[in-house]
Each structure stands twice: as structure tokens, then as C-alpha cells.
Subunit: 168 residues, 2 copies
DNA sequence: TACGAAGTATTCGATATCGAAATATTAGCA
DNA sequence: TGCTAATATTTCGATATCGAATACTTCGTA
């Protein structure tokens, strides 16, 4: 039994202090660190849930990317969206196609491209998993009022809107 | 050249719509989706920067975890913090120790445990990388006023404070 | 004290991922 | 039209990661 693992709150506090000491601006680090800490916790919970569905985190990322896009995507786009090398996507898609969760079809206009889309089974898996994760996500925000959730969402969306301008 | 990749804002909008259609609550999904989208973008930028330093994302996660903790950690703790299997950590630490960035030392009280800590070179690498990433992070938040940043940080920290209660 | 259960790091074989090269198609332009 | 550069996917060899098994230590308790 290890020395008690520090709470997420304590980890956050220390992380911000470390970054500030290293020269980071406090208001920036409080936000960035909290966002990353939250995502990490969410990822851990998702991974736990996905075991039951016999899907790896990487495979789940492909399924959600396709679901969220609302249209067919190419292997390259999926690699970009899921932060993985294009060559890795080939194998992932092989496995997903083998299980009947996605299907590949040729692009009519450009024969170097391939369209990847969710099958009915893929959509079904997506729905099942979403119902599970939504429970956790609601719990996470339960200490915020409706007004606070709206404000939090608004502020985050201001940040999101700027993302593309930065890496351009 | 692929069909133009949708903007982060457009991806966010679609993702929220998809989750809501699948039965998720909108106020929840707007927040969760934005947080995940932001983290993904940050990860992409970090990965780009880390190439120059000859450090993989996984190795960087170990370095930052140790820096943020402010104390020595065990391989198990590092595996937990970086979302990786304990057996994978062994090899990562081997490589990091080989490069002189971390060092292992025995735990005086419990001989099954090992203490991992940053060397001076490890701290130096951390400092250099932080200076680089802080620039990007500040850019990300540039559309928010000081008051808004504070409010955003406050709201996120409320959420962070709840994390441990949930998976307990 | 002694002994079984639990904790901790590592090893090992199978699989996933990476970066570079290969293959094929399309776009730009002289 | 040709020819070169750029795109997109896949293949391939090297490396990283995973889950299970292993070796050892510590804890709980009879």
C-alpha cells in the first residue's frame, strides 16, 4: 500500500505552483492545468467502461470521431483527430472493419482517398457507450448550478474558437 | 489535398449536437466536449515541441509528473498518473535513467518500493520545455479578460475538487 | 512467531504504434 | 501534353505498450 495518493485538488494546487515557479502566468496555468487534470480523469473512467465493451481507447476514439463528424472521414483525418500516426490507423481500421464496426469505401472523385464510416453496429456501440459515460460526466458537474455550467461552457467555447487561428 | 478539415469550433458544435442527440444533457456536453477538444489541441502542440527536445510524449508525462508532485514518486504512482500500465513504466524509466533525466533509489522503509526523482538534468529539461509551452498556452487564452480567466479557473477548480469523490 | 493475503516492481510473449520507404493517384505548371 | 511535386494509403522493421506471470517484501492475524 502506497503512501496515500494525493487528491486531484492537491495535485492541481501543486502543479499550478510548479508552473508558476517555472515562470508561467498563474491565471493561465490554473486554467490549463485544470483542463488537463479533468481530461485525464475522464480518460481513466472511459477506459474502465470500455473494457466491458471490448474496445480499446484508440478504437473508441475512432468510433466517436466518426460519430461526431457526422460524415465519412479519411484514414488521414482520423489519424489527425485521434493523435496517432497515419500508418497506425491502417491497422486500427482493419480490426474495426473485421468486427463490423466501420466500413471502408472508395472515394468516387479521388482514388487515393478512402471513406471510412460507421456501420449500424458501430452506431449501436456508440449509443451504448454514450449512455454510460453521460452518467459520469453529469456527476462531474454536479456542484455547478445551471448558470455556472452555462458560463463555463461559454468561456471554454471562446477559447475553442481561437484554436485554429493559433496553429495556422 | 483533403477536403478542408473543419475548424475546431465547427467540430465542437457537431460533437455537442451528436451527444445531445444520443441523449446527453446539453450543458454537460458543451463543457466536456470543449475540455476534451482543448486538451487534444494542446497535446498536438506539445508533441510538436517535444520533437526538438528528443523526448516522447510519454517520457514528458513522467518528467512533468515528477516536477509537479514536488517529491519522489514510485513507478506505480507514475503509471497511474500517466495512464499507462505499470509494466510499461519499467521500460520508460530505464530509458529516462539511461539519459540521466531521472534516477531510481531504494525506499528506506519498504524494500518493495522504489523512489524515482528528477536529476538536475531532468529539472533543466522541464524548465526549457515549460518556457516553450507557456507561450502557446497564453495565446490560447488571449481572448479572455483577466476577470474571465479567473472565473474560468474558479469554475474548473470546483469541478476538480469533486473528482475524487466520484471514483471513490 | 508463522503463514496466508496483499502490495510492488519486473520479466516475458503478444500486440500496437511509430517513422521511413513504397505504391499509387492527383495537382500544378512549363 | 509531359513532368515534377504533392497527397493518401499501406507496408515494413524497430520500438513501446499491454496483460499475465514471476519474484520478493510487507501486512494482518491467528
Amino acid at each position: 500500500m502506497a503512501r496515500r495518493t494525493p487528491s486531484a485538488q492537491e495535485l492541481h494546487r501543486r502543479a499550478v505552483a510548479t508552473y508558476v515557479k517555472a515562470g508561467g502566468e498563474e491565471s493561465v496555468q490554473r486554467v490549463i492545468t485544470a483542463v488537463q487534470g479533468l481530461t485525464k480523469k475522464l480518460d481513466q473512467w472511459y477506459a474502465h467502461q470500455l473494457v466491458d465493451l471490448e474496445v480499446t481507447a484508440g478504437e473508441w476514439a475512432v468510433v466517436t470521431s466518426l460519430a461526431k463528424a457526422g460524415e465519412a472521414l479519411t484514414p488521414s483525418q482520423l489519424a489527425e483527430l485521434t493523435n496517432v500516426a497515419p500508418s497506425s490507423m491502417t491497422h486500427r481500421l482493419d480490426k474495426l472493419a473485421e468486427r463490423g464496426l466501420v466500413e471502408r469505401s472508395p472515394d468516387a472523385e479521388n482514388r487515393t482517398r478512402i471513406h471510412v464510416s460507421l456501420t449500424d453496429a458501430g452506431w449501436q456501440l456508440f449509443s451504448v457507450a454514450i449512455r454510460g459515460s453521460d452518467v459520469v460526466e453529469s456527476d462531474v458537474l454536479q456542484d455547478l448550478s445551471d448558470a455556472e455550467r452555462g458560463e463555463l461552457a461559454r468561456l471554454l467555447e471562446v477559447v475553442i474558437a481561437r484554436l485554429d487561428d493559433i496553429d495556422a
